[in-house]
């Protein structure tokens, strides 16, 4: 008797819970990224970008049919296993769409899990080619691709720097090594002599041995492929102290205000490949005005995260539902100027690469060279 009573009570509770949810409709957006560990800065930037997009959306009247928009941030720690666990957690919590993650090595396995449940995932930061070449129907990408990034870097070396020799250092992550390997191959094809390609370990602070090698070899270009802006900053400080004269080229993962905060004048004149963003565009200014007072400095991927969340919410708004097939159809139709770039998804889910060369000047990233048109 007691058991029956409990069962009825439980069933009643479940029914009430279910009906309660049906009344208040909430759009749930998950974010994935490293909130702890060495890449935490970038993960926090992604989360903040999504939060800002939601704030802006709510301020502009929200989405008809939804009472609220909720953001569920998850920590992947940049580990494949934890990424899969967080993807499952987000599925359990009933998210409608996901923005993330940061490391390609975390995005790849997590997207497989999300795709099985037909949950749309838009990565603001994973640049590995494989993210969109696997043919997953619900995988989208807001940032550019590694192959385009290395192409831009090598074109800059040959056309603008007239480099004859190059030395590469990476930190052995799927991202940084993939990028460095791509640059090495393309540079060799372009007739640049590769003097060496060294690897350091993640978490290293002392690069004096490797940098002494670089200095002895006297390359024209020192290609620094690090997955972490803080580590990149340490390498720049030590390179400057050692008196390395080579032109230093970094990439999008070290494109972060942290680089100058830590390296200070050691970061001056460093070149980086990063997607072009028009900071005078009205959409960027709207983003900046909302983001900066809430979260401080705009990080490298804050803008892409903002655009990813914005694109998703606009698609939901246009579709009038969270049905993945309908939202996908609306996403593919989007064609507008976002905060960071022109948003127009291609059939494979990419939104196109627009890498240009930035140069650090007076403690700021300034656009320096465009592969299509030359100097700015």
């Amino acid at each position: 008797m007691k058991r029956l009573f409990m069962t009825v009570l439980l069933a009643a509770a479940v029914i009430m819970l279910g009906s309660g949810m049906a009344f208040a409709k909430t759009l749930k957006i998950g974010t994935m990224g490293p909130l702890t560990g060495p890449y935490a800065a970038d993960g926090v930037d992604i989360k903040n970008g999504v939060l800002t997009a939601v704030e802006v959306m709510k301020a502009n009247g929200g989405i008809p049919g939804f009472d609220d928009i909720e953001v569920l941030p998850q920590d992947t720690a940049c580990e494949p296993r934890q990424a899969v666990a967080t993807a499952n957690k987000l599925i359990n919590e009933g998210v409608n769409g996901v923005v993330g993650s940061y490391c390609s090595s975390a995005t790849l396995p997590a997207s497989e899990v999300l795709d099985e449940e037909s949950i749309i995932m838009i990565t603001p930061a994973s640049t590995a080619e494989k993210v969109t070449t696997r043919g997953l129907p619900y995988m989208f990408r807001m940032c550019g691709r590694n192959d385009d990034q290395s192409k831009t870097a090598v074109k800059f070396m040959t056309d603008e720097l007239k480099a004859k020799t190059i030395y590469l250092v990476d930190d052995k992550t799927a991202y940084s090594q993939g990028l460095a390997d791509g640059v090495e191959k393309m540079a060799a094809e372009a007739g640049i002599k590769v003097l060496g390609h060294e690897h350091v370990n993640q978490g290293d602070k002392d690069f004096s041995a490797i940098l002494t090698k670089v200095k002895t070899e006297k390359p024209d270009v020192f290609y620094m492929s690090m997955q972490n802006s803080a580590t990149g900053a340490l390498m720049l400080i030590q390179a400057k102290r050692m008196g390395i004269k080579a032109a230093i080229i970094g990439q999008d993962a070290v494109y972060h205000p942290q680089l100058m905060e830590i390296a200070k004048n050691a970061a001056e004149n460093v070149y980086l490949t990063f997607g072009y963003t028009d900071k005078e565009a009205p959409a960027y200014k709207e983003f900046d005005a909302k983001y900066t007072p809430l979260h401080g400095n705009i990080g490298a991927y804050s803008g892409y995260a903002y655009d990813s969340a914005m694109a998703y919410m606009m698609a939901v708004k246009a579709a009038g539902s969270t049905d993945p097939a309908k939202v996908k159809a609306e996403l593919m139709k989007l064609d507008y100027n976002g905060a960071t770039k022109h948003v127009k998804f291609q059939a494979n889910g990419d939104s196109g690469s627009d890498y240009v060369i930035f140069k650090v000047k007076d403690g700021k990233f300034t656009t320096y060279w465009n592969p299509a048109t030359g100097l700015y």
Partner: protein, 300 residues
Amino acid sequence: MEYFLQQLINGITLGSVYALIALGYTMVYGIIQLINFAHGEFFAAGGYVGVIFMSYLLSQGAPAWVCLSGSLILAMAYCAMLAVAVERVAYKPLRNSSRLSVLLSALGMSIFLQNGLMLTQGVYDKAYPTELTQGGFEMGNVMLSYMQLFIVSLTAFLLVALNLLVFKTRMGKAMRSTAQDKVMSALVGINANRTISITFAIGAALAAAAGIMVGLYYGSVRYDMGFVPGIKAFAAAVLGGIGNITGAMIGGFIIGMVEIFAAGYISGEYKDVFAFVILIAVLYFRPSGIMGENVDDTRV
């Protein structure tokens, strides 16, 4: 030759840092046979106190030497107090239980302190004012920066001071006798608890000095910076013969040198492998470490 000399300088600098941290491991082990895994966190905490105070002093327009020595003293004092507190909370109540429980308590303390740093100081790196540390001597192609000179000479100074303290003072005598036999030294009037606290404090102060030097040399500190150097310094202490001060110094320099030369002459990705291969080889042929004596005869 120039290449070799440059790598030698790099190796000595890195070795000094490891040596300083290793001293704390070895002293604590010497006196209560505990591997204090939270030691790396004292190193990180020292780095943070250093950067906070140094930036403040700089913004007040204090000259470079005031910034350096002021923050050094403050960080050492802070970490000494932190270590005494940690010892009271996490190790003292467990002193008579099995070694495993104290070890676990130490691991827990390490995680606690690291997360504490993360939560209070944030996940971003904190930048050191590197403008204090630029420049150096250049002989041909060999660079010896002022910072490297500063690290090596400060390490040498601290090592000499520590040796004088341990072998020439009453305090040092008490430490050595407590290490040898806690009960007997208590019977002859040595306050064992106080001596243990002081040992912890000194070890942590040395780690804090290393933290500041690392911050200045490499340019920034972060909350999890204690882990890797902590492991390396632990290896150095074991290599030198844990419990032995001279051994810890030598071990620190060996690990630093092997790391730099392996990276410079073989490959950057294998440097840690070589450092630990040396450790295993030494322990295989000389289980007590380079300077170690019989296991029960450990001394501070």
